[in-house]
C-alpha cells in the first residue's frame, strides 16, 4: 500500500450515523449510530451478514440515500444537507459505482458504456485505455447481452474507473458470479485501484473475499462491531 500525506483528509468519517426505514407501521433501524473513520487510499471491506446495514452504509456514502441523523463526510465534504444538484455533482466528481447486477445500459456497447461516463466527466480520451485495462479491448464493440457476467462486471469496473473517482464503491460485485469468475473480476478491481491509490469500499458477506481488504469493517444489526486490519492478499492468491 502506498503512503499518503498526513494532512490528507480521511476518505470517510461518520459520527452517530442512523438510517431508519418505515416499513408499514414499524420503523426499521438499518444503521444504529455508526461511528467510523476510514483513511484514504485503502481497500476497505464492509463485512456482515444480510441485514447488517453494509449496503445501507455504502448507499449513504455514495449519495444514493440520505441518513436519518448523524454526520457523514467523504474526503472532508459533509454529505448531510446536500441538495439534489450537489449530490449529483458529488456522484459525478467523487464516486464510482460497481453494482452487483452490473447495471450496464443494454443498448450501448461495452466501450460506449464506458464512454458514456467518460464524456460526462471529460475523460473521453481514457475510455479505450479503461476498457483495455480490464482486459476487454477485443470485446469493446459487444453489447452487454453478448458478454458473460464476468465480462459485464469488468465493463462496469472500467466504467467506474474511467471517471478517476476518489472513492469507488462496490456492492457485492461478485454476488452474481461464480467464485472463479468473481476472483478474476476482483483481481482486476484490486490491481486497477491499487495502482491509482484509489479508495475502495467493497461490500461482501463472503469472509474469504474479505481477506483482500486493507481494512475490514464488521457490521451486525446496523452497528459496527469491529474494525480491523485486513490481510491485503491479492484476490488471485485467495483460495476458497
Amino acid at each position: 500500500m502506498q503512503e499518503r500525506r498526513q494532512d490528507e483528509p480521511d476518505a470517510l468519517v461518520s459520527r452517530d450515523l442512523w438510517k431508519q426505514y418505515p416499513m408499514g407501521d414499524v420503523t426499521v433501524d438499518a444503521l444504529r449510530g455508526v461511528n467510523l473513520r476510514l483513511p484514504a487510499g485503502q481497500f476497505v471491506v464492509l463485512l456482515g451478514p444480510s441485514g447488517s446495514g453494509k449496503t445501507t452504509l455504502l448507499n449513504l456514502a455514495g449519495g444514493l440515500d440520505a441518513a436519518t441523523k448523524g454526520e457523514l463526510a467523504v474526503f472532508g465534504r459533509a454529505l448531510n444537507g446536500m441538495n439534489e444538484a450537489q449530490l449529483t455533482a458529488y456522484r459525478r466528481e467523487t464516486v464510482g459505482f460497481v453494482f452487483q447486477m452490473f447495471n450496464l445500459v443494454p443498448t450501448l456497447t461495452a466501450l460506449e458504456n464506458v464512454r458514456l461516463v467518460a464524456q460526462l466527466v471529460g475523460t473521453d480520451h481514457l475510455a479505450d485505455q479503461a476498457i483495455a485495462d480490464v482486459g476487454l479491448a477485443d470485446r469493446a464493440g459487444n453489447l452487454p447481452s453478448q458478454l458473460s457476467g464476468g465480462e459485464q462486471q469488468r465493463v462496469a469496473i472500467a466504467r467506474a474507473l474511467v471517471k478517476q473517482p476518489d472513492l469507488l464503491l462496490a456492492d457485492e460485485p461478485t454476488g452474481a458470479l461464480d467464485f472463479e469468475t468473481g476472483r478474476q473480476v476482483l483481481s482486476v478491481l484490486w490491481q486497477q485501484t491499487r495502482s491509482r491509490r484509489m479508495t475502495v469500499i467493497m461490500v461482501t458477506h463472503n469472509t474469504i473475499l474479505a481477506r483482500m481488504g486493507d481494512t475490514v469493517v464488521r457490521l451486525r444489526s446496523g452497528q459496527v462491531v469491529g474494525t480491523e486490519p485486513g490481510e491485503a492478499i491479492p484476490p488471485s492468491q485467495i483460495t476458497p
Partner: protein, 790 residues
C-alpha cells in the same frame, strides 16, 4: 396456488390494471351503446311501420278513377289496397314567423281509419268532421300548432280553413321529407295536412279521382305486386312507384340507421384494438418482471400449459372486469342516444329494450381481446426454458442480432444521445406496441376530427360555398317569374336569377339514376356551380353538369350522351331529351345536376308544370332581406320563401344530431388515445427504472435522465404520428366514403388544422402522461431502483 398468484399479480398491478379495465370498459360501452341504439331505432321504426300498416308497394300517378283501387285489390298477393288523393300547395301562416310554407294535403276517410298507411294520433282525435284536419306532429311542433287551432291551406289560390282535430305520426313522414331529392327539409317549412277526403275532393277540384294507390302485400311479393300496380297505373300517368324499402322517408331513415351501425362497429373496434395493444404491453412487462418466478415455477414442476393458462387468464380477467361495467354503461349510453335521437327527429316513441345478443357479442369481443392480447406474452412465458428463466434472461438470439445491427446502424460521437435513439428500437415487440398504441390514438383523433370536418365541409359547401343569394323563392306558376323580375327593380334589390327544378331519371347505356335537374340562367352568379377541380362553371344549352356519384353510376365521362326523362310527367309517356355531359360538378349535399334554364324549361317544365317547378334566387341588401321575404310571403304567386339564414338554420338542425355523435366519439376517442398513450409512456419509463436510476448514480442529473426518457418517448411519438396519420387519413377516407349516398356525398376532408391539432394533442397527452412518471424519476429511491428488476 397458481390461482392465488393470478389474483395477487392482478391486484399488485392495480393501477395499470384499472387503466386497462377502463379501456376495455369504454370499448364495450361504445359497442353496446351504439349498437343497441341502432337496434332500438330499428325496433321503434319497425313497431311504427307494423302498427300503422305501412304500405309494401305504392304508385303515385297523375289522376285515376277510384275504381282502379278495386283492380289493384285483384292483383295476386295484395292483402289490402287503398287509394287516396294527395296534392301539394301551401300553408298560409300570417300570424306566424314563416308566412307561407309548402303544404302537402292528403285525403283520409272519415268513417274509418286508413286501412293502409294509418295514422297514429299522438294528441287529439281522428277527423270527425269535414272542417277538421290532422296535422303532422313535427310541423305542428315547429310552428306552434295545437289541437283546436285553425290552419289555413291554399291550393291554386283556393284557400280553406281547417280546425286541427289531432296531431299525428304518419309512417310516411317519420323522417319528414317530401321526396328523396330533398333530404334537408326542416319540419318548419314542410307540413302535411290530412283532410277529410270528401272535403279534399271538393276543395282540390279533382272529383272522385285518386293520385296514389298503396297496397299491403303478402310477405316477399312486394316487387311482384309493384310491377303489376305500375302496369295498372301507367295509363293514368304513372309518376313514380316504390316498395316500402324505397319509400323516401324510410330510405333516409335506413341510411341513418346504417350510419349508426357503421359507427357502432368502426369505433369500438378501434377502441378494443387499442385496449388489446395496451393489455399486450402490460402483460409482456409482467412476464419480463416475473421471468425468474416463471423459471422457478417450471423448475418446481408446473407445466407449460399451466403457465400459459395462468397468464392468459390474467388478460381474460381484466377483460371481464371491463366488460361487465362496459355492458351496463353501454346500455345507458344507448338509452341516452336514443333519447337524443328521438328528440332531434321528434319521434314520439322509442324502444329501449335490453338486447342480449348485443350484450353477449360485446362481452365476447372483450374476452377475445383479453385472450388475444394475453396469448403472446403467455406463450413466451410458457416456452421459457427454466434454467434460462431462472437466470432472469429473456433475450432471444434473434433479438440480440437485431440489437447488434442497430448498433452498427447508429453511431454518434456523443454517447448520451445514443440511449434514446437506440432505446426506441431496443426491443421489436416494445417498439411495435408503442407505435401501435400511439398510432391507434392518432387514428381515433384523426378519424373523429375527420368526421366533423367532412360534415362541416359539406355544410359549408352547401351553404356558403355555392349560395350567393339571400332568398330562394318557389313560384306557383311560370308566369310568376314576372313578379320576381318586378321585385328586382325595387330599391335594395341587387339581382334576381330564375331557376327551374324537376326530378328526372338519367340513363346511359349502362345504368340509370335519379337526380334533381336544375336549370339556371347563363352567366348567373347567385348559385355558384363548381367543377371537380373547384373552378366555377357556366351552363350551356344541350349540356348538363352532373355530380360525380351519378357519373360513376352511369359510367359516363364529359362529352358522353345521357338520356334524361321526366318521370313525373303527366303525359302518358315520360318526356325524354338527350343531353351531353358537360362535366362533373362538386356537390356535397343533394343530387343535383345543372343545365341551362331556358333549355330545361322548354324541354320539361313548360310541358306540365307542377307547383314549385319554377323559382328564383334573389339577392338584396342585408338590411332588406326581411322586408323582401315579407313581401314575397304575402304574394299569392309564391308557394314558399326561404332565406339563406332559414336554410342554414334548417340544415344545422339536421346536422346537430351528427355533431352530438361526433362530440361523443371525440370524447371517447380522446379518453382512449389518452389511456393508450399514457400506458405506452408509463411503461416505457417504468420498465427502465433501473437503467435510469443507474444513470443518476453515475452522476447524470435528474433533468438529463428525465430528458433521455422524454426524448425517447418523443421519438416514439413522432414515429407513431408518422404511422398513425397516414393510417388515420386512409381509414377516414374509407369511413367517410361509406356514408356517401347519391344524395349526400361527403368528402374526406382533413384540413391542416386537424394535423396540427392531432400532433399537439398527442404531444400534450404524451407530456401529461409522462409527467407523472418523470416526476417519479426525480424522486426515486436510487438505492432501491438500481437493484430493481428490468
Amino acid at each position: 396456488m397458481l390461482w392465488r398468484k393470478l389474483w395477487a399479480d392482478t391486484g399488485a398491478l392495480a393501477r395499470q390494471a384499472s387503466a386497462l379495465v377502463v379501456l376495455i370498459c369504454l370499448g364495450v360501452a361504445l359497442y353496446v351503446g351504439l349498437y343497441e341504439a341502432y337496434q332500438n331505432l330499428g325496433d321503434a321504426y319497425d313497431w311504427i311501420y307494423e302498427t300503422t300498416e305501412f304500405a309494401d308497394a305504392s304508385v303515385l300517378l297523375s289522376a285515376a278513377p277510384e275504381s282502379l283501387v278495386e283492380s289493384a285489390e285483384t292483383i295476386p298477393h295484395v292483402r289490402q289496397a287503398m287509394g287516396r288523393l294527395v296534392k301539394d300547395g301551401s300553408i298560409i301562416q300570417r300570424d306566424r314567423e314563416r308566412k307561407r310554407v309548402v303544404g302537402r294535403f292528403v285525403g283520409v276517410p272519415r268513417q274509418h281509419r286508413p286501412t293502409v298507411n294509418d295514422l297514429w294520433v299522438i294528441e287529439g282525435h281522428y277527423v270527425a268532421d269535414a272542417d277538421e284536419a290532422l296535422l303532422e306532429h313535427q310541423f305542428a311542433a315547429e310552428n306552434g300548432y295545437h289541437v283546436g287551432d285553425v290552419i289555413k291551406c291554399s291550393y291554386l289560390s283556393r284557400e280553406r280553413d281547417f280546425t286541427v282535430a289531432g296531431l299525428v305520426l304518419s309512417p310516411e313522414y317519420v323522417y319528414l321529407v317530401p321526396s328523396e331529392h330533398s333530404p334537408f327539409v326542416s319540419p318548419g317549412t314542410f307540413g302535411v295536412v290530412f283532410v277529410e277526403e270528401d272535403r279534399a275532393r271538393e276543395w282540390l277540384g279533382v272529383g272522385r279521382r285518386i293520385t296514389e294507390i298503396h297496397c299491403l302485400t303478402d310477405a316477399g311479393y312486394d316487387e311482384e305486386v309493384l310491377e303489376k300496380l305500375e302496369a295498372l297505373a301507367r295509363p293514368y300517368g304513372l309518376e313514380t312507384s316504390f316498395v316500402q324499402e324505397d319509400q323516401p322517408s324510410k330510405r333516409l331513415l335506413t341510411l341513418d340507421q346504417q350510419g349508426f351501425r357503421k359507427l357502432s362497429v368502426f369505433f369500438p373496434i378501434l377502441f378494443l384494438l387499442s385496449a388489446g395493444l395496451s393489455l399486450y404491453g402490460a402483460l409482456s412487462r409482467i412476464v419480463r418482471l416475473q421471468v425468474t418466478i416463471i423459471g422457478m415455477l417450471k423448475a418446481s414442476g408446473f407445466t407449460s400449459r399451466e403457465i400459459l393458462v395462468q397468464y392468459v387468464m390474467q388478460g381474460v380477467l381484466i377483460a371481464v372486469a371491463g366488460a361487465v361495467p362496459g355492458s351496463i354503461l353501454g346500455h345507458w349510453l344507448a338509452v341516452w342516444l336514443n333519447g337524443m335521437y328521438a328528440d332531434a327527429l321528434h319521434i314520439p316513441i322509442m324502444k329501449a329494450g335490453i338486447h342480449w345478443d348485443t350484450l353477449s357479442i360485446g362481452f365476447l369481443l372483450a374476452i377475445a381481446t383479453g385472450f388475444a392480447a394475453a396469448y403472446l406474452p403467455a406463450r413466451t412465458a410458457a416456452r421459457l426454458p427454466p434454467a434460462v428463466a431462472m437466470r432472469g434472461e429473456m433475450e432471444s438470439a434473434r433479438g440480440i442480432t437485431a440489437q447488434r445491427r442497430l448498433v452498427e446502424w447508429s453511431r454518434l460521437r456523443t454517447v448520451i444521445y445514443l440511449i434514446p435513439l437506440r432505446g426506441v428500437f431496443r426491443r421489436a415487440s416494445r417498439t411495435l406496441l408503442a407505435l401501435g398504441g400511439i398510432a391507434g390514438g392518432v387514428v381515433i383523433i384523426v378519424t373523429t376530427f375527420g368526421m366533423h370536418a367532412s360534415t362541416m365541409d359539406a355544410l359549408g359547401d352547401f351553404l356558403a360555398g355555392s349560395r350567393k343569394y339571400d332568398i330562394d323563392i318557389q313560384f306557383r306558376r311560370p308566369s310568376s317569374l314576372a313578379f320576381a323580375r318586378s321585385a328586382a327593380a325595387l330599391p335594395g334589390a341587387r339581382a334576381v336569377s330564375f331557376t327551374t327544378s324537376i326530378p328526372v331519371r338519367a340513363r346511359s347505356s349502362w345504368d340509370s339514376g335519379e337526380m334533381m335537374l336544375t336549370g339556371v340562367e347563363r352567366g348567373q352568379h347567385l348559385l355558384r356551380i363548381r367543377s371537380q377541380s373547384g373552378e366555377p362553371v357556366d351552363v350551356t344549352p344541350g349540356e348538363i353538369w352532373i355530380p360525380q356519384q351519378l357519373a360513376d353510376r352511369l359510367m359516363v365521362e364529359p362529352g358522353d350522351p345521357v338520356m334524361v326523362e321526366w318521370v313525373e310527367s303527366s303525359r302518358q309517356r315520360p318526356l325524354r331529351r338527350a343531353f351531353q355531359v358537360a362535366g362533373l360538378v362538386d356537390v356535397a349535399i343533394g343530387n343535383s345536376a345543372y343545365g341551362e334554364f331556358d333549355d330545361i324549361r322548354r324541354s320539361f317544365s313548360d310541358h306540365a308544370y307542377p307547383e314549385s317547378s319554377y323559382g328564383a334566387f334573389f339577392a338584396c341588401a342585408p338590411s332588406r332581406v326581411d322586408a323582401f321575404k315579407h313581401r314575397f310571403d304575402e304574394s299569392d304567386e309564391v308557394v314558399s320563401v326561404s332565406t339563406t339564414e332559414d336554410v342554414t338554420e334548417q340544415i344545422e338542425e339536421q346536422f346537430a344530431l351528427m355533431l352530438i355523435f361526433v362530440g361523443v366519439l371525440l370524447s371517447f376517442g380522446l379518453v382512449l388515445a389518452g389511456s393508450t398513450i399514457h400506458s405506452v409512456a408509463t411503461v416505457s419509463i417504468l420498465e427502465r427504472t433501473r437503467e435510469l436510476a443507474t444513470l443518476r448514480s453515475l452522476g447524470f442529473s435528474a433533468r438529463t435522465t428525465a430528458g433521455i426518457a422524454a426524448a425517447e418517448l418523443c421519438v416514439l411519438t413522432a414515429l407513431g404520428l408518422l404511422v398513425g396519420i397516414p393510417l388515420g387519413k386512409w381509414l377516414n377516407h374509407l369511413y367517410i366514403q361509406s356514408f356517401s349516398t347519391e344524395s349526400l356525398a361527403f368528402r374526406a376532408v382533413l384540413p391542416l388544422w386537424i394535423y396540427v391539432a392531432t400532433v399537439l394533442m398527442v404531444y400534450v397527452l404524451v407530456g401529461l402522461s409522462s409527467w407523472g412518471a418523470l416526476r417519479r424519476l426525480r424522486s426515486m429511491d436510487l438505492a432501491q431502483a438500481t437493484k430493481a428488476g428490468e
